[in-house]
Amino acid sequence: MAQPLALALDVAETTGDRDSLEPSPYEESEVHDSFHQLIQEQSLRVAEEGLELLSLVPGRGDHTLPGPEGAPAHSSATLRILASMPSRTIGRSRGAIISQYYNRTVRLRRRSSRPLLGNVVRSARPSLRLYDLELDPTILEEDGDLSVKLELQNSLHGVDIKMRAASPHVVGPEVCKRSLLVKELQGLSGAQRDHMVRNMPLSLGEKRWLRKVGAQRESGGGGTMGAAVGPSPAVAGSDIAACCALHSLGLALLSGLYAARPWRYALKQIGGQFGSSVLSYFLFLKTLLAFNALMLLPLLAFLVGVQAAFPPDPAGPVPSFSGLELLTGGGRFTHTVMYYGYYSNTTLSQSCASRQEGGQCGPRLTYSMPLAYLFTMGATFFITCIVLVYSMSHSFGESYRVGSTKGIHALTVFCSWDYKVTQKRASRVQQDSICTQLKELLAEWQLRKRPRSACGRLRQVVVLGLGWLLCLGSTMGCTVAVLTFSEVMIQSSASGSQGVEALALPLVVSVLNLVASYLFRGLATLERHDSPVLDVQNLHLYRNLILKMAVLGVLCYHWLGRRVAALQGRCWEDFVGRELYRFMVVDFIFTLLDSLFGELVWRIISEKKLKRGQKPEFDIARNVLDLIYGQTLTCADSQAAPPFPHQEVKEPSWWEASLMANCQAPRRPWLASHMSTVFLTLLCFPSFLGAAVFLCYAVWQVRPSSTCGPFRTLDTMYEAGTVWVRRLERAGSGASWLPWLHHLLVENTFFLFLASALLLAVIYLNIQVVKGQRKVICLLKEQIRNRRRGQDLPDQQAALCLRGGKEQVMGLAEPRKLPNLLAGLRMEGTEGTLHPQSL
C-alpha cells in the first residue's frame, strides 16, 4: 500500500471560552467532533480497502472527478477548515439558538449505526460522491477482478462500470472498486438507495444493475423492492403491501395532476416556438388567473351567494336590459349583486317575516351582512397579500444568486442555449440573439477596460437625460390632461349619466396610455441605436409603469376626492364601481385591438414598405404591464363590485393564436427567471399595494353613502367592526376574549411595533449571513489560487476563512470547494512544492 499523503494546514488556534454553554462558530473542535469521527471512520475504511489519492498527470484524458482523500490522519486545523464549510453547517446554525441544535444532531448521528446519506449533493461523505465512474470498457481490461467483469458483462450486454482510483506512486493496472459502491448501497434502505442511484450520472442499464445488486445481498437473494432495513420481516408483509399500494396511488395521482395542468399543450407550443422569454409572459398570465381565482372564492361564498339568496326589496322601478349595460355597467346591472349598493345593511335570517336586527325571529341562523362584507374583504386581501409576498420572496430566492453578476461571459456561453426550442427558425433566431449578446458583452468589457473619453460619457449622459426628461414630461402632460378632462366631466353632468357619454373618460385615458407607450417605444429604439449596451428593456418597463401609476393616482384622487363630494346624498360607491367597470372593459378592448391589429398592421408595413420580411417582436414587458394594470383595476374594484375578480378573461389560447400569426421571439437577451421576479414584484408593490391603499382609505376615511350598501348608517365602513366588538363587550357572553384581543392587537400600538422590530431583526440577520457567505467564497478562491502558486497562507486569512457565514444562497457552489481545494493541493503534491507539515 502506497504512502498516503498527509494533509495538514497549520491554522492559528482560536482562543475561546471552552466552558461556555454556547459554542461560537470558532469552537470547531467541540462542536464538530461528530464530523471528526465521521471523517476518521471513513478514512479508516477507505485506507483498509486500498483507496489512494488519484494522481493527476496534466493532460491525461478521462472523466475526472477528484478522488477521495486518503489520509487517515487530518490535523485538527484541517478538520476545522473542512468542518467549517457551509455545507457541513447547513441547518445547524440558523437563528439565535445554536448550541442545543448542535447537541441534538450529534446525539442523532451517534444513535444510528450508519450515518444517513440523504441528498448526495450536500452529503458530508465525499468518498461516495467522488467515485470515478468510467464507461470505457478498454480500461476494464486491466482489471484483475475477472469474475466480476464476467458477471457484469452478462447482465449489461457489455457495458461495464468501473470504479477507479490510483495511487500517486503505483502506475499500472487499476483496481476495480465497484464493490465498494455496492457495499455502500446495501447498507441503505430501499428508498434511500433508489434516491441515491437516481442521482448518479450513470446510464439506465447500470442503474438497474446497481439497484438489483444493492437490494439482493441485503435481503439474502430475494431482492424485494421497498424493504426497509429496520422493521422485522414478520410485521413487514402487510405493511409493505399497504405501502406499495399507497405509493402507486400517489404516483397515479401525481401523473394525473401533471396531465391535467391547464393549457399544457398551448404552453409547450409557445415554448417550442418562442423560447423561455415569451413563455414567461404566459406563465405570469397563469399566475394572475390563479390569484384572481383565490380572490374570487371567498367573495362568492360569503357575499355574493348569500345576498343572491336573500334579495332585498327593489327600491324603485327596475330598468330593462339593453345591450349597453355590458359596456357602461349601468342600467339593469345597478340593481344586481354586482355592485355595492345592492347589499343590505341588516342581519339576514332565514324565512323571517320582518327584517329586524338581532335575529328576533327565533333560534335561526343569522348572518350580519355588514360584518360579513367587512371581514370577507379584509380576509381576502390579507390572504392575497400573504400569498403574493411569499411567492415573490420564493421567486427572488430562486433567481438571485451570490455572484450572479460576475462571470457573465461564462454564464452566457454555458447557460444561454434554450433547449425548449424545437423549430429551426426559432433556433436560428436564438443563435442570432446569442451572437449579438456575446458581441455586446465583449464591447462592454472593452469599454470598461478602456474608459470612454469625457466627451463620449457626456454624450451618453445627455442622451439618457433627454430620454428621461421627455418621458417624464409626457407623463405629466397625460396626468394634467386627465385631470382637466375629469373636471370637465364633473361639471357637465352632475349625476354621472348612464349612457355612452360615460365612456368618454375611460376612452381618453386608454388613448393617452396607448399613444404615450408608442412614444416610449420609439424613444427606446433610438436610445438603443445610440448606445446598445444600455439596459433599455428595463428602462422601457419602468417608464411605462410610471405613466400608468401616475394616471391611476390621478383617477383615484378624482373618485375619492371630487366625485364623493359631488355625489353627496347619492350612492357614490355604485358610481365608482361602474366607473372602474367601464375602465376595465375599455382597457380590455384596447389591449385586444392593439395586440391583434397593431401587430398585424406593423407586420404588413414592415413586409411591404421596409421589405424586411420579419415579424415584429413580441414586446413582453409592455404586455406584462398591461396585465398588471388590468389587475390593479380589478383589485381596486373589488370593494365596490365584489364579483369582478373573475373578469380576467384573457385566456392563453387566444393570445397564442395571435402570437403565432403575428410575432416572433424577441432578439434581445431575456433572463427569464430574473424577469419573472421583477413581474411578481411589480404586481406586489405598485399594483397590489396601490389598490390596498386605495381601499384602506375608502374604508377608514371616507363616509359611506347613506342611501345604499351595507354601511349606510355608519360614519366609516370600519365602524361596523368596532360596533360589533362593543356589542360583544356589553353582552358579556362567552366570547369575551374577542374584545380583549381586539383591544390588544388593534387599538394598542405596541403589538405593531413589536412585529416590525422582529421583521427588521430578521432582515438584518439575513443580510449579515449573505455578506459572510460572500466573504467565505472569496477567501476560499484565494486560498486555492495561493495553493496553486505554492504560497503560504497567512494565519489571519485562515482564521478569517473559518469565520464564515452559513448556507442557503451558496447553493451548489460550495460543495465543490472541497474537491477544488484538494485538486489544487494535489497538483502541488505532484509538482513537489508542497511541504506536508508546514504551512
Binding site: 484524458g61 475526472t64 450572479s404 433556433s427 456575446l438 451548489l812 457552489a813
Partner: protein, 155 residues
C-alpha cells in the same frame, strides 16, 4: 432520434408516433448540439445510435424534476467535444461556434473569439490550469438561476 442509425425500426417509430402525443417534430432536429447529445447518451460501442433506454436517460436528464447536479454533469459532457474530461480552449471555441451558428455574419471574428475565451477562463478557471474541469463548471452553472429551466425538453 438523432438521425442515422437509430435502433428503433421505422415501423416501431411510426407506431410510437401514432400511439403517443409526440409530434413529427424531432425534438433534437433544431438543436445545434444534437450530435453531441447523441454521443453522450449513447451506450452502443460505436456511440452513434440511441437505444430505447438511452432515450429514456436523455428524457430523464432533460426533464423538469432532474436535479441541477445531474443536468450540469451532462451539460459538461455535452460541451466536452473531445471527451477528455476538461473544457480547454478548443472545446470552448467549438462550443461558441455551435451557439452562434454557421452563418458568416453571425460568427465571431478570431480576435473576438480569443477575447471571449480569455474572459471565460478568467471567470471560471479557479485553479488557473488553462482548462475548466467539472467542479469549476458546476460552480459557474450554480450562479445561473436560468440553467435548470433552459436545460429542459418539454414532453
Amino acid at each position: 432520434m438523432g438521425g442515422s442509425g437509430s435502433r428503433l425500426s421505422k415501423e416501431l417509430l411510426a407506431e410510437y408516433q401514432d400511439l403517443t402525443f409526440l409530434t413529427k417534430q424531432e425534438i433534437l432536429l433544431a438543436n445545434p448540439f444534437k450530435e453531441r447529445i447523441c454521443m453522450v447518451f449513447s451506450t452502443s460501442p460505436t456511440r452513434d445510435s440511441l437505444s430505447f433506454e438511452d432515450f429514456l436517460d436523455l428524457l430523464s436528464v432533460f426533464s423538469d424534476t432532474a436535479t441541477p447536479d445531474i443536468k450540469s454533469h451532462y451539460a459538461f459532457r455535452i460541451f466536452d467535444f473531445d471527451d477528455d474530461g476538461t473544457l480547454d480552449r478548443e472545446d470552448l471555441s467549438r462550443l461558441v461556434n455551435c451557439l452562434t451558428g454557421e452563418g458568416e455574419d453571425t460568427r465571431l471574428s478570431a480576435s473576438e473569439m480569443k477575447q471571449l475565451i480569455d474572459n471565460i477562463l478568467e471567470e471560471s478557471d479557479i485553479d488557473r490550469d488553462g482548462t475548466i474541469n467539472l467542479s469549476e463548471f458546476q460552480h459557474v452553472i450554480s450562479r445561473s438561476p436560468d440553467f435548470a429551466s433552459s436545460f429542459k425538453i418539454v414532453l
